[in-house]
């Protein structure tokens, strides 16, 4: 019998493979990059519990290694004509912040994305380009989310909580820094999220300003001036910051779009083709936990398919 192909070695892919193996089906993980772990490899601490991403990642890679699942690294999967079952767990791409030119990413110093911040934490080098400590930091929510202008109509779901988490991390790193989060809506949908938001407001002293930043420009002393409307006051505001963090959204992997599942209920891991399944953020923005849960579900549906067909 042919092996079930799991496209993508992130958490969703690894969980799918593990669940398949448990049910006696032999999977093969095809991973484009040189290592398992997907986006989790770039993350530092996971919201809302601040669990180290490396810890979660290690438990998965250890299980995959010990279960003897075949892993093919540095391989791009493209043979969708096969009749072997395929689980697409290709996750998402991080939105390229350079497309929002008006925010100055890649143009001015000290404009970062949330992915950069995670990386800096992992590398232990958080700070401004010249190594100094910022006095004022602004986070911009919804960069590459809910934005027709960059063909990203959807809400990327996890950015709100990521912004809150990172603001708190920076606040605890630099207690004297003033931190401002510019948001359109704060969407705290998960368990413990709202609590974290409140903690950010009350304990970490993060300032939340309701307004979308329209543009950033450099100042004479090398800082960054941002413009927004404080929509709760109803007046435009300007603010100069030392560090600007763009909370970037998720972009689909199907030519920039997310794969469309058969339906959003029982068929959320099914595609239009009987032998093709989905798991994780390939179909929509999802959290790490949700992606793992979908891995289990996808494995279940694959097994059902194999039992029905053969």
């Amino acid at each position: 019998m042919k092996k079930v192909v799991v496209v993508g070695g992130g958490v969703a892919g690894m969980q799918t493979a593990l669940s398949l193996k448990e049910r006696g089906v032999e999977p093969v993980i095809v991973e484009r990059t040189g290592a398992l772990g997907g986006k989790l490899r770039n993350f530092h601490l996971l919201f809302p519990s601040m669990t180290p991403a490396a810890e979660v990642l290690k438990s998965f890679t250890d299980q995959v290694a010990s279960s003897g699942i075949e892993v093919r690294l540095n391989e791009e999967f493209s043979d969708f004509s096969t009749d072997a079952p395929i689980v697409i767990a290709s996750g998402f791409n991080v939105f390229d912040a350079r497309l929002k030119e008006e925010y100055g990413y890649g143009i001015y110093d000290n404009v970062y994305t949330t992915v950069d911040v995670e990386r800096m934490f992992n590398e232990g080098k958080v700070g401004l380009k010249d190594g100094s400590v910022p006095r004022r930091i602004a986070f911009v929510h919804c960069v590459g989310s809910r934005d027709e202008k960059v063909d990203q109509r959807h809400c990327s779901k996890v950015c709100c909580i990521t912004g809150v988490k990172q603001a708190m991390e920076l606040a605890s790193l630099w207690p004297d820094a003033e931190i401002f989060n510019f948001y359109m809506d704060i969407r705290m949908f998960g368990p413990g999220y709202e609590e974290l938001y409140q903690q950010a407001q009350q304990e970490a002293g993060i300032n939340f300003i309701r307004g979308r930043v329209s543009e950033a420009s450099p100042t004479i002393d090398g800082r960054i001036q941002i413009k927004a409307e404080d929509t709760l006051i109803g007046r435009p505001m300007k603010m100069t910051v030392d560090m600007l963090v763009l909370i970037v959204g998720m972009r689909g992997t199907d030519g920039g779009k997310f794969y469309r599942p058969r339906d959003l209920f029982g068929g959320s891991v099914l595609s239009d083709r009987p032998n093709v399944f989905y798991a994780g953020a390939a179909t929509a923005p999802k959290t790490v936990g949700e992606s793992i849960a979908e891995g289990v579900m996808a494995a279940e549906k694959v097994v059902q398919y194999l039992n029905d067909g053969n």
Partner: protein
């Protein structure tokens, strides 16, 4: 030779038709002419006895009869129009000669000429008249064919008809076949009656239909040759333009609103029709990119964009009322202006480069002239003002690139609007608010003059056009950044790395068709890479779809137009799309799979920093 009476009952419809036509045309032309503005009438008096009149005669022959411009756009369509116009014209002229040849010099009433064969019983007949009639009929066959199968004549769409058009068109189609029948079966009175009635109906319907263009184009050509133009406010001259439109429909195919966004009733032919019959709505007046693609092809040379603009003024212009006085706080305050300059971190560094270039007094033989060359010769060092315009302010990469280019040039630069400025006024003008726009222009003028700049550089073609067309900037030369950079390169003030990277170039409407700047950006591009042209380029270039002149289309339509433009660039095989307008850059960059950059960005990228 017997005396011919030249009368028969059937000529009455014809005579009535001709009389009505004559009366209406005289009334219309008279009224429009009398109402011409004083300065227009002065132009007529001044240029009446001049070579312009002779040229106008020549143009009338070439355009009204031969339809040279239609031939250039579409030869089949050209043949059709020439067959009708020139064929019919020759039928009349040769018919008159025939009459004279037969009867000698004597008075013959109009119907005598027209129904000559009837009154002479067909005994005298020139073969050439038959050939001419068949020539006209060949045009008619094409016309009928076009009405039902427009695509076969190279037109994807043909105009929709009004009631007057329908009556005139139907009778026109009958005129020549009936003439053929009448002249060949001279004894059948029904054919003569039919021919006369068809002529009569056509002549009555003519001044109320699109066929009014046949007469109107003649005075239009003369008035235009005498220097009269339509302007930002409606004037009586507009009537000559409106009724000279034959609704040929050549303007419909190039319209991107039609071909990419599905708007079928806003094109210039329809706009002019609606305005002519007093049923113009703001929706139609406002739904135009004013990209100029149709204006460039109009065989009658109508000022389509100007007419659209002055309609907007009439329909929706609101009084200035000093409503932009609040902006004076920025244009009257030199402190704010100086702050702008400081904030860029641009201080004048005396470099070797500057010594050579910035102070060189235009000994350059470059066609664009030397940079130092201005009317204000008492200023020894040129001082450049850079006006990014609203759109550039949202494109920081252009600003950053210009900063690097200015630094390399060594020029003394004042940043006019980087930390806040006011709009150039063109968007307001495009909306029809010309008085309020004027206020804004006056404020900016004051700001520029107070700074003592000798050159005003802008990276926005929208601003450029209004600076050149509407501002009165004494002693200040206005340049688009593409022209400025081209000069720097020509004078050897920029050291650039050439490459063999294939780049394609998008002509912004306001820069190309608007200001006639096609070569400067191409010269610049050629010095940093290899230029590959899209299928439609230069004066034929497509609009990005986001034109500020359009107040109606939604985001989806803009995206649809941008996609079509992007596809044309992808087909060139270029690695990147370069344009010279911040708005075009955003519009095309949104959908294109190729990176889309401003000209300044590619130049800054290729600067040799030593």
């Amino acid at each position: 030779m017997e005396i011919i009476s030249f009368y028969s009952g059937f000529v009455i419809p014809f005579l009535v038709g001709v009389s009505v036509l004559f009366a209406v045309v005289v009334y219309k032309f008279g009224r429009w002419f009398v109402r011409l503005p004083v300065e227009d009438r002065r132009l007529v008096r001044k240029n009446f006895f001049s070579r312009a009149t002779v040229r106008a005669l020549g143009e009338c022959f070439m355009e009204c009869l031969l339809h040279r411009k239609i031939w250039k756009v579409n030869p089949t369509l050209g043949y059709m129009h020439t067959a009708f116009a020139f064929g019919w014209f020759l039928l009349i002229v040769v018919g008159w000669v025939e009459t004279v040849a037969y009867l000698g010099w004597r008075f013959v009433p109009l119907q005598g000429h027209i129904f000559f064969k009837f009154f002479t019983g067909g005994e005298h007949h020139w073969l050439v008249m038959d050939i001419l009639l068949w020539y006209v009929l060949s045009g008619l066959v094409l016309a009928v064919y076009k009405r039902f199968r427009s695509r076969t004549l190279g037109m994807r769409r043909t105009t929709k008809l009004t009631f007057g058009d329908r009556v005139a068109l139907s009778s026109l189609w009958f005129i020549f076949p009936l003439r053929l029948l009448a002249e060949n079966f001279s004894g059948v009175m029904a054919f003569w009656w039919g021919y006369s009635i068809a002529l009569g109906i056509f002549f009555v319907a003519m001044p109320f239909s699109r066929y009014m263009h046949i007469f109107t184009e003649v005075p239009l050509i003369f008035l235009r040759r005498w220097g009269i133009r339509s302007g930002e406010r409606e004037s009586s001259f507009d009537h000559f333009q409106l009724e000279a439109c034959s609704r040929c429909g050549i303007c419909i195919d190039p319209c991107q609103l039609q071909r990419d966004a599905g708007f079928r009733d806003v094109q210039s032919a329809y706009f002019i029709r609606d305005r002519r019959y007093n049923r113009l709505t703001r929706r139609v007046a406002d739904n135009c990119l004013m990209c100029g693609r149709c204006e460039g092809r109009c065989p009658v040379g109508l000022q389509l964009d100007t007419l659209r603009l002055n309609s907007r003024h009439t329909l929706s212009g609101t009084p200035a009322d000093g409503r932009f006085e609040y902006a004076r706080k920025i244009t009257n305050n030199p402190v704010i202006s100086n702050e702008c300059e400081k904030s860029t971190g641009q201080t004048v560094i005396a470099s070797e480069n500057e010594a050579i270039c910035s102070n060189s007094q235009s000994s350059s033989s470059h066609p664009l002239g030397g940079r130092g060359e201005t009317k204000n010769s008492q200023l020894s060092t040129p001082r450049i003002g850079f006006f990014g315009g609203c759109m550039t302010l949202l494109s920081p990469r252009i600003l950053q690139s210009m900063e690097q280019i200015f630094a390399a040039s060594g020029d003394d630069v004042w940043w006019a609007d980087r930390n806040g400025g006011i709009c150039c006024g063109r968007p307001l003008k495009l909306s029809g608010d010309i008085d309020a726009a004027r206020d804004m222009m006056q404020m900016n003028t004051q700001l520029f003059e107070a700074q003592g700049i000798t050159t005003l550089v802008t990276s926005c073609p929208i601003c450029l056009r209004v600076f050149r067309e509407d501002y009165r900037l004494e002693g200040i030369e206005v340049l688009h950044h593409s022209e400025y950079i081209a000069r720097l390169i020509a004078e050897g003030c920029l050291s650039l790395r050439d490459s063999d990277e294939k780049m394609t170039y998008h002509d912004p409407c306001e820069l190309g068709r608007g200001c006639g700047i096609y070569d400067a950006p191409r010269q610049v591009l050629a010095s940093v890479g290899e230029l590959v042209e899209p299928a439609e380029t230069r004066s034929e270039a497509l609009c990005c779809g986001s034109s500020l002149a359009n107040f109606v289309v939604d985001d989806a339509s803009q995206v649809a137009m941008a996609r079509a433009v992007g596809a044309a660039f992808e087909a060139t095989g270029a690695a990147r799309v370069v344009t010279a307008c911040p708005l075009c850059k955003k519009a095309i960059g949104r959908t294109s799979s190729l990176p889309t950059l401003d000209l300044a960005e590619v130049v800054a990228e290729k600067l040799n920093n030593d």
